[in-house]
Every structure is written in structure tokens, then in C-alpha cells.
């Protein structure tokens, strides 16, 4: 047979397996978007009554929803900010220790140990925070207020129980530490060995090698890890609900018994007993928390997208 060869693009045969498989993946991908949209939609629908709630529906003498939610939103951001301030430098240090300083044989086991911290449930952290950490820190806080009380952050009177926003921030920091560490470690380990060996061969010390090869390579990874940590710190509920002695107001002092509580902790403490419009108000504060975390994550994503990470697949 010498018929002319058909010109044009050669199409791969369409196999049913391919069709089914690719459709399944697209559907599950789309499902995720649908879930996120429905989270927003259902929360919004259920919170509508809260926005028009009458003053008598609020506990604590608030006149409208926004005056109710503002101190809570402040507490949420403030505690998460403090936690990240503690956790991020520490996490980068730990990740570097595990990936580049610890003996190679030990590093696997050390990574496992830090991962264990990630797996500890938040309610256990809550028990630990109130049973161990708060009493441990209280004398230290008293000294801090006595010596450094002139700094507005450390102004007194000192809390007698140690259940302050700083304790909460430390507990939160411990909780987000392993997440940030695990991600940073993975990223640091992915640094091309050639870069590291090249800089060492040029006479760089270990720190210079890290500063020149590892950290620039892992920068977007560090940001994304911190973002995940921030997400967990913002929404962390039980540890805050159990450790903090709450008072819904905007204060920056770290060591007094008057602490701004967080949205999540407020919901957890009040939801089981809430009824009627009270439920809608709590759902609405949940919506505010959702919007805050959404905004934080989106900003973080935009930062990361500006510096696209390299990956094996492209």
C-alpha cells in the first residue's frame, strides 16, 4: 500500500483509562474549590442575623456586632504575631541544625523528634500550658514586671496565675514550631548539593555556605512555612481557651491578668451554651476569623508567587 501519508498533527489514541482518570482528578480538584466556596457561603448565610442583632443579644454590654468582634480580632492577631515572633527564628535554627549541623546519622532521628511535637494534640498543649508552663513562668513574669515595668509592654500589675497572653504566645509558638521546622528542613535538604559543595570548595565556612546557598534557595519555603504556622496560630483554639484568662478588650500589655482573648477561644468557650441569636453571633465571629485567615494566606501566597520556587516536575 503506497497511499499518501496523512499530513497534520499526530494525535495520541484516547484511551478510556486516561479519560476516566483525568476526569476524576479534575472533579476532585473542583470539589475542593466547591468546599471552600460553601464554607464561605454557609457561614455567611448563618451569620446574617448577627449583623442586625439587637444590643440585648450580646453578652457583655456591646451595642453591635462590630464592637463585639473588634477586641477579639485584635487578640487573635496579637497572639499569633507574638507566637510567630518567637517561633520563626527558632524554627529556622532548628531546621538548619537538623539539615546541616547534626551528624548525618542522627539527623533522621532528630527530625522525628521534632515531628512528634507537631503531632501532640492542641488540647494536650492546653493542659500542659495551664498545668506546667503558667506556674513555671509566673515568678519570671513578676521579676520582669518589677525590673522592666517601665516598658509599656511589660507594665503591671502582674498576673498571679501566669495565664497571660505571653504564656499563650509561648504555647502557640511551641505548637507552630514543628510545622515551620519540618517544612524548612525539607526545603533546606533540597538545596542542590552541587551549590553547597561549590561554595565549600571556594573556601566558605559552613555559615557562609548556608547564607549563600541554602537560605536563598529556601526563602520562599521559609515564607510558606511561616504562613502555615501563622494559619495554625491564628486559628488555634483549645490551647488559648484553656490557658488564657480572658477579658475582651484591646490591651498590649503582655503580663497582666487582663488579656485580649481570641475569636476561636471565645467561640469554643461560649458555643456549647449558646442558643438563638447567640449561635449566629458566634458563627459571625467565625466568619470574621475565616476572612482574616483568608486575607493573611492570600497576601502570603502573593509574596511567594512573586518568587516562584523551583520544582522537580517542570
Amino acid at each position: 500500500m503506497t497511499t499518501a501519508v496523512a499530513r497534520g498533527t499526530i494525535r495520541a489514541p484516547q484511551r478510556p483509562g486516561d479519560r476516566i482518570f483525568s476526569t476524576a482528578t479534575v472533579v476532585s480538584g473542583g470539589l475542593i474549590l466547591a468546599v471552600l466556596a460553601s464554607v464561605a457561603a454557609f457561614l455567611l448565610v448563618q451569620s446574617l442575623p448577627a449583623f442586625v442583632a439587637k444590643p440585648e443579644d450580646f453578652t457583655g454590654g456591646y451595642t453591635n456586632f462590630w464592637s463585639y468582634v473588634w477586641p477579639l480580632a485584635f487578640g487573635t492577631l496579637w497572639s499569633a504575631f507574638l507566637a510567630l515572633l518567637i517561633a520563626v527564628p527558632l524554627a529556622i535554627g532548628i531546621a538548619l541544625f537538623i539539615s546541616h549541623y547534626a551528624p548525618r546519622k542522627l539527623s533522621q532521628g532528630l527530625g522525628y523528634i521534632v515531628d512528634l511535637l507537631a503531632a501532640v494534640p492542641s488540647v494536650v498543649f492546653g493542659l500542659w500550658g495551664i498545668g506546667v508552663l503558667a506556674p513555671l513562668l509566673q515568678p519570671f513574669y513578676a521579676t520582669l514586671v518589677a525590673w522592666f515595668g517601665w516598658i509599656p509592654l511589660f507594665a503591671g500589675p502582674v498576673s498571679g496565675t501566669g495565664r497571660t497572653i505571653l504564656t499563650v504566645a509561648i504555647v502557640l509558638a511551641v505548637m507552630v514550631l514543628p510545622i515551620i521546622t519540618a517544612l524548612c528542613r525539607e526545603i533546606f535538604l533540597q538545596t542542590p548539593v552541587l551549590y553547597e559543595e561549590a561554595s565549600l570548595a571556594l573556601g566558605a565556612t559552613r555559615w557562609e555556605m548556608i547564607a549563600m546557598a541554602v537560605l536563598p534557595f529556601g526563602r520562599s519555603g521559609i515564607i510558606s512555612a511561616s504562613m502555615l504556622g501563622l494559619g495554625r496560630a491564628l486559628g488555634e483554639t483549645m490551647a488559648v481557651a484553656m490557658v488564657l484568662s480572658p477579658s475582651s478588650q484591646v490591651v498590649f500589655q503582655l503580663l497582666t491578668s487582663q488579656n485580649p482573648t481570641t475569636i476561636a477561644a471565645n467561640i469554643a468557650l461560649n458555643f456549647p451554651e449558646a442558643h438563638g441569636t447567640g449561635v449566629n453571633i458566634l458563627l459571625a465571629t467565625g466568619l470574621v476569623l475565616f476572612v482574616i485567615t483568608l486575607a493573611v494566606n492570600m497576601v502570603a501566597r502573593l509574596i511567594i508567587n512573586r518568587r516562584k520556587a523551583f520544582s522537580g516536575a517542570n
Binding site: 470539589l31 511535637l117 500542659w128 557562609e208
Partner: protein, 362 residues
């Protein structure tokens, strides 16, 4: 030869300008001794009642950082000094992170063991129990049921999405999914609980709805993005050469994914799934909201309140009855159970990763 006039003794040019091998350790011990001496004097002077061990170690380490930097700066130069300082700081960071873990595990074990070892803890519920006694069987059952269902929902969706993102995804849909999966990882757990509550209370028109399956849905919302992210990372690590080799042999794309890409990254994916289970199994807030709490057994996911271990811990702590110690003991025992489950999952994940991971360079 005029070298005979050299006055200085011969130095080993290879070790010149370097600190001796164990000088770091020596300086560290020295700094601890110095601070210990200072604190001892403080104690003698009566300013504090007892010898401050924590303070000694802390300030001793700070002193070490300063001392090793200065020593190295004058002997080895600024670059080496910086290197030594960073080494000290990085190691200190790791030790600092270990302290809460050790303290946490120790307190949980010590406080949890008394109630954990009572024979009824895993054979009885809290029904009709006032004061000491009873157990957490209802909570363990609830946790296993709810987490199991959540895993059954999350793993297929998460894994398929990850495959879509790495293998098929092009253009706007894939970018949108990547973006929103990242956004979803930041969803606070309590919002997931509120979502499940809002959804089902509208669906069933019941303003006080509490049931187990809602908890599973809430946990899935939290779990899916974690599974997607970890699986996606693992799939991305599969070298493109493997895929290209399979295509070159004429293997269809879906078979390439099933037989080449997935097996190569399987260990990582399973590890990720285990870790995501470990993450959601300890979630308290969403279950507190949608599954509620009860003192009785409940095997039915679709009816009535269902107790779970984290909520058990919380309620035992929050609603302490007259016999406070019994409730606290049970709370710690529940915490110990949770920690054990989670550690078991992690260990399992490690073993799987170790046994089945392909042997690649590092």
C-alpha cells in the same frame, strides 16, 4: 641556606590560626562553671533561696556564645568567629525546642498513668459516673469512627487533586486550585467545625444539631488540603526522566502515573497521610462544636452526640466535678492515650517511609 636564622619555633602551618579541636567544648564548660559560680555567690549572699540551675544553664550558654565569638575572632578571624557563633545559636535553638517536648511528655505520662492503668479506662464509658472510675471507651470509639470516616473521604479527593496538580494541571483551574488549597490549609479548625454546623443545621433545619458524621466532614475539610499539599510535594519530587522514559516506551499517561509516579513517591505520600491523620485526630474545637460531648457510648455516626478523645480531655478538664482529682486524672489519661495514638501513627509512617522509599542518592 639562610633559614637557620629563624627565631620563632616551628609552627604547624596546617593548624596555625585555628583553635584547638575541643576548645568549643572547653569554653562551654568554662562558661557554665563561671555562671554557676556567680549564681552560687548570689545564693550565699541570700538574694535567692535555692541554686538557680535554669539560670546557670541559660546565662552560661549566653556567655559561651560571647566567649567563643571573641576567642575565635582574635585567633581565627571574623569569618570563622561568625561560623562558630551561628553553630552555637543553631544548636541552642534545637535544645530549646526539645525542652517543651520533654516536659510535655513527662507530665503527660506522670499525670496520665494512674487513670490510664485503671482496668475500666478502656472498657467503660462515663455513663452514670460521678467522681472517680469509669473510662474513655466511648471517646476512643468516637475518635476512631470519626477520624476513619474523615480519612476515607479525604485521601481519595486529596490524592487525586494532587495528581491533577502535578500531572494534568495547566492554566487557570490548576492555579486556582493550588492557590485555594494553600488558603484552605490556613482555615482554622474551629471554622471547619462552624462550617459543618452551619451546613447541617440548615440542611436538617435543626438549630442545635450535634452528630458524629458532621465531625468527620469538618475534619475532612481540614485534612484534604494537608493531604493535597504533602502528596503534591512528593509527586513533584519524582524525576521527570522517569515519566519521559515511561512515555517513550508507549505507556499511557494514567498507567504511567499509577505504575511509575505513584510507586516512586508512595512512601512519601503514605507518610503525609499518616501525618495528616495524626494532625486531625487531635482536633478538639470542630468536634466540640458539631459532635458535642456525651458520657455514653454511641456507635451511630448519624445520630446523637458522639464523644471523642480530645473533647473528652477538654470536658474532663473544664467540667471538674466535686472530686477534682478524678476528673484531672482522666483528662491526663485521655491526653496520654491521644499522645500514644499519635506517636504510634508517626512511628508507623516512619517505618513505611523507611521500608518502601526508593533508594535515591541522599
Amino acid at each position: 641556606m639562610s633559614t637557620t636564622t629563624m627565631a620563632a619555633p616551628m609552627t604547624n602551618s596546617l593548624t596555625a590560626g585555628k583553635l584547638p579541636k575541643h576548645s568549643g567544648l572547653a569554653v562551654l564548660l568554662g562558661s557554665w562553671l563561671v555562671t554557676a559560680a556567680v549564681f552560687f555567690v548570689v545564693q550565699l549572699s541570700g538574694a535567692s533561696e535555692s541554686f538557680n540551675i535554669a539560670g546557670t544553664l541559660f546565662f552560661g550558654t549566653v556567655l559561651y556564645c560571647v566567649a567563643i565569638y571573641l576567642l575565635s575572632y582574635f585567633v581565627e578571624g571574623v569569618r570563622k568567629a561568625k561560623d562558630r557563633l551561628v553553630t552555637a545559636l543553631v544548636t541552642a535553638a534545637f535544645v530549646v525546642a526539645l525542652l517543651p517536648l520533654i516536659s510535655l511528655v513527662a507530665t503527660t505520662v506522670i499525670n496520665g498513668l494512674p487513670a490510664f492503668l485503671t482496668p475500666t479506662f478502656f472498657t467503660a464509658s462515663q455513663r452514670n459516673v460521678v467522681g472517680a472510675g469509669g473510662g474513655a471507651l466511648h471517646a476512643v470509639m468516637g475518635t476512631l469512627l470519626i477520624t476513619g470516616v474523615a480519612t476515607l473521604i479525604s485521601v481519595p479527593i486529596g490524592l487525586l487533586t494532587a495528581i491533577y496538580l502535578t500531572e494534568y494541571g495547566r492554566g487557570r483551574l490548576s492555579r486556582a486550585i493550588t492557590f485555594f488549597v494553600d488558603v484552605m490549609t490556613g482555615i482554622p479548625s474551629i471554622v471547619a467545625g462552624l462550617f459543618a454546623f452551619a451546613l447541617f443545621s440548615l440542611l436538617f433545619n435543626d438549630p442545635g444539631i450535634r452528630f458524629g458524621f458532621g465531625g468527620a466532614i469538618a475534619l475532612s475539610v481540614l485534612m484534604i488540603p494537608v493531604v493535597v499539599r504533602s502528596s503534591e510535594e512528593m509527586l513533584k519530587l519524582v524525576p521527570n526522566e522517569l515519566r519521559e522514559a515511561a512515555y517513550a516506551l508507549g505507556v499511557p499517561k494514567w498507567l504511567t502515573i499509577l505504575k511509575v509516579v505513584l510507586p516512586t513517591s508512595l512512601a512519601g505520600i503514605v507518610t503525609g497521610i499518616m501525618i495528616s491523620i495524626a494532625r486531625v485526630i487531635g482536633e478538639t474545637a470542630p468536634l466540640l462544636i458539631i459532635s458535642g460531648f456525651t458520657a455514653s457510648m454511641n456507635y451511630d455516626l448519624f445520630n446523637e452526640r458522639m464523644m471523642t478523645l480530645p473533647v473528652f480531655v477538654y470536658t474532663q478538664y473544664a467540667n471538674q466535678g466535686a472530686d477534682t482529682q478524678a476528673y484531672l486524672d482522666r483528662a491526663w489519661a485521655g491526653a496520654l492515650t491521644l499522645v500514644l495514638i499519635v506517636m504510634l501513627l508517626n512511628a508507623l509512617a516512619r517505618i513505611i517511609a523507611k521500608l518502601f522509599s526508593p533508594k535515591l542518592g541522599r
